[in-house]
């Protein structure tokens, strides 16, 4: 069975919510919809305080090249546009809406009927995706329409769909593949049309055999879609690792997947694209896994964007006693939240609750130069060396040792027997090297 060769680790999978069918979470009383939910520039608000909005109405417009529209996920009245604590741990601009009823824009098709035919051209599809504010739902939240615009000097050959869900605990993509298989395969065909490619690969790790079988069966009726089982290994969901595992091509250092003719989209994004293009529905809700060993009812919820995390926790039986840490995303790459008041955003794939005992890092001791971090690095880097260079502020050397290739998967810190926070050092280093390169570019 296929997988990527270089490095990788096997954290305990802990997919405790994989049997829980997707449940619709009740509407919140207040929705907090941040303007910056995508990678790139935040959107600009186009409604004022006091405005009445419907579900699906545009409330902030992504004007910069790399930006995405934001739509209201609820109906009601704009209470204020204010700085609100979000998943980043900082206060950022958000539109706060007092929820009244559940009135949808009439243009949105809310019927459960599956629409298979799509007669739009490539440009029209991309325009539609842009309008509907679709971003990558795997967690990176890169605006999808930008990714689909292939520069004239490049050619896309393959669409790669990421159904790997290699993060432990998370099951939202898994449930989507089981319950919305037909829709997301249609989403894949729409993405293929947008990119003008004949072939798409869907990569799924073989710990989700039911999802694999389901998509294989459905994809058999569509041309050019191949569902490929992959051997479980973290971080297979990394773009470069996934391409390597599926078609054996290696994206060159510092380049995008397009360099080897690939565009990678998450499986959840394919579903959002289906809804946007076929149902005219903006990205206003998503599937979020609420999980953790001490959670009473681990679940997968369909959540309106802007719903406070607290609502999910309460619906799953409340915050467990002795909670130590709440993570937005998975345990390998997720962010620790500072409060349960922060809203679910487009990039929230899961909320993981860890008890006090699990919440602390192992104590740090001297590096014993065992080279395990080098062995597990999926990018072939030397985390121990990069961490040293970063600690000593030797940014140029760090750049030469390709610190910017680091995908921040955390395998190095995960595996370090001395409990050294290698990725912390690397993040600082990447940041500084990035600044250095930008100032250099300005001087020229």
């Amino acid at each position: 069975m296929k997988t990527f060769q270089m490095g990788g680790v096997h954290p305990p999978e802990n997919k405790i919510s994989e049997k829980a069918a997707i449940e619709v979470l009740p509407l919140p009383q207040k929705a907090f919809i941040p303007l910056g939910q995508n990678l790139g520039a935040p959107a600009k608000a186009v409604v004022d305080k006091g405005a009445l909005v419907k579900v699906g109405q545009l409330i902030a417009s992504g004007e910069a090249f790399i930006s995405a529209n934001v739509h209201s996920s609820v109906s009601g009245k704009v209470a204020r546009i204010d700085n609100v604590l979000d998943h980043s741990g900082y206060r950022n601009k958000a539109i706060v809406i007092d929820v009244e009823g559940d009135e949808w824009e009439e243009s949105i098709d809310r019927s459960p009927a599956v629409i298979r035919e799509c007669n739009l051209s490539s440009e029209e599809i991309i325009q539609k995706i842009k309008e509907m504010g679709i971003v990558g739902l795997g967690g990176a939240t890169f605006p999808t329409h930008v990714k689909l615009m292939v520069p004239t000097d490049k050619k896309a050959e393959f669409l790669i769909i990421n159904g790997v869900e290699c993060e432990p605990y998370l099951t939202s993509d898994h449930r989507l593949m089981l319950e919305k298989g037909e829709e997301l395969i249609i989403g894949v065909t729409i993405l293929m049309k947008a990119l003008k490619v004949e072939k798409a690969f869907i990569g799924i790790e073989n710990n989700k055999s039911d999802a694999l079988e389901n998509l294989k069966r459905i994809a058999a009726d569509y041309k050019g879609i191949e569902v490929q089982p992959l051997k479980v290994k973290y971080p297979q969901g990394g773009e470069k690792q996934l391409i390597k595992a599926l078609i054996g091509r290696e994206v060159p250092s510092g380049k995008l997947p397009l360099e080897v003719g690939c565009v990678v989209q998450n499986i959840g994004t394919a579903f959002a694209v289906y809804e946007a293009v076929q149902k005219n529905k903006p990205l206003i809700e998503r599937v979020v896994t609420l999980t953790g060993k001490s959670v009473k009812k681990p679940a997968n919820y369909l959540v309106r964007i802007g719903t406070p995390v607290n609502n999910l926790i309460e619906t799953s039986g409340g915050l467990p006693e002795k909670t130590g840490k709440i993570i937005s995303g998975g345990p390998m790459m997720g962010k620790a939240l500072v409060s349960t008041e922060v809203p679910v955003v487009k990039g929230t794939s899961g909320i993981l609750i860890m008890n006090e005992k699990e919440s602390h890092r192992p104590l740090m001791s001297n590096c014993i130069r065992c080279a395990r971090c080098i062995g597990v690095c999926p990018m072939g880097l030397e985390p121990v060396l990069l961490a040293q260079l970063s600690a000593n502020e030797r940014w140029e050397d760090a750049e030469r040792e390709r610190i910017l290739d680091c995908i921040e998967c955390g395998s190095c810190h995960f595996t370090c027997p001395s409990g050294r926070p290698l990725l912390d050092y690397l993040r600082v280093g990447k940041n500084k090297v990035g600044q250095l390169i930008r100032t250099r570019a300005k001087k020229i």
Binding site: R249, L319, P331, S359, R361, P417, S418, D424
Partner: protein
């Protein structure tokens, strides 16, 4: 909920620790320890105990009083150094010499560089070579193995190692087959199980190989260094043996005698003082093998494992600097 812990990812960990690795090495040394107890009885027990306890005490005292640090003697690294040092000593060594060895190993070999993980040389080997140069007579008079349950009454107290026998025999103008045909010369089976003269831990090749396999399975060591070391020894000695079997001993003899297996599996693979990249480890292993045989065949000492590994330790920073792992995306492949 009173407080939430905030930290960067990752939030789960593999559960490995320095302690687990070090005590894994200790477990791997148990077979060789049992063999030494069987052949040398109380003498072996005395050397091992004195060496381990003194290494622990020296590390504690230096950390607490000289370096003013919180002592970390329960991480197991001083225990490993203590056992390895004992393995490299004859079982009749006076206690005070063992203490000197332990002080040099821990004090100079390890702590003077800053402690665990910072030492360029294998501390146990530093201690052993210091003793070998300072006390050559005591360090090279090896008691003849006398199994605990054997009824044989031998008066012989000490005898040379097989490597020493070869070296001395060649000086007297004998050929290798002549030396080996002497009834007192141990055969391959005896060297394999450890019934021959030598330091207390290097006796039994089979016990050391068992330990090595255990460490490979538990991924405490990687295969590169042992394979490169053994491979280069076989090829290097094989060439000379084929050229002139009357003057050069065969590869199997070289593999099974002296500190070869101890060096291959426990000394050269010390993660602190060996290279980090896989290719670097291969080069290092070959270097160890070639140097060991150079010293054994043409050097003044009959045995060369300790010196070879120490010399290669000195090359490790260079190997780490210039031998890099293959980067992802370095070679563009279209498949």
């Amino acid at each position: 909920m009173d407080t939430l812990t905030i930290s960067g990812s990752p939030h789960v960990f593999g559960g490995q620790s320095v302690k687990k690795i070090m005590y894994g090495v200790v477990i791997a040394m148990i077979p060789a320890m049992l063999v030494s107890l069987y052949f040398f009885g109380f003498g072996a027990l005395r050397v091992i105990l004195v060496s381990v306890v003194s290494c622990l005490i020296f590390e504690y005292l230096i950390q607490k009083h000289l370096m003013k640090l919180e002592p970390t003697i329960n991480d197991g690294s001083a225990v490993v150094t203590g056992i390895l040092l004992a393995f490299n000593l004859p079982s009749n060594l006076p206690v005070w010499i063992i203490l000197v060895g332990a002080l040099v190993a821990i004090g100079i070999g390890k702590m003077s560089f800053g402690g665990l993980g910072k030492n360029p040389f294998n501390p146990a080997l530093v201690g052993r070579v210091f003793l070998l140069i300072s006390f050559p007579v005591q360090m090279t008079s090896w008691p003849v193995p006398k199994p605990v349950f054997s009824s044989a009454l031998t008066d012989a107290v000490t005898g040379p190692t097989p490597l020493g026998l070869i070296k001395d025999g060649l000086k007297l103008g004998k050929t290798v087959p002549e030396i080996m045909s002497d009834p007192t010369f141990p055969d391959y089976i005896q060297t394999l199980i450890g019934n021959h003269g030598g330091s207390l831990g290097e006796m039994s090749a089979i016990a050391l190989i068992l330990g090595g396999i255990y460490m490979l399975i538990r991924k405490i060591i990687t295969w590169e260094i042992p394979v490169a070391y053994i491979g280069s020894v076989v090829i290097f000695t094989g060439i000379f043996w084929l050229i002139d079997p009357t003057y050069y001993a065969d590869p199997l003899f070289h593999l099974l005698t002296g500190g070869m297996m101890l060096g291959v599996f426990f000394m050269a693979t010390d993660m602190v003082s060996s290279p980090m990249s896989r290719t670097g480890q291969l080069i290092y292993g070959v270097g160890c093998g070639v140097l060991t045989i150079l010293i054994r065949i043409w050097g003044a000492y009959p045995e060369g494992v300790s010196f070879a590994i120490l010399i290669m330790n000195a090359f490790v920073p260079l190997l780490n600097k210039y031998i890099k792992p293959k980067r992802f995306g370095e070679v563009v492949k279209h498949g």
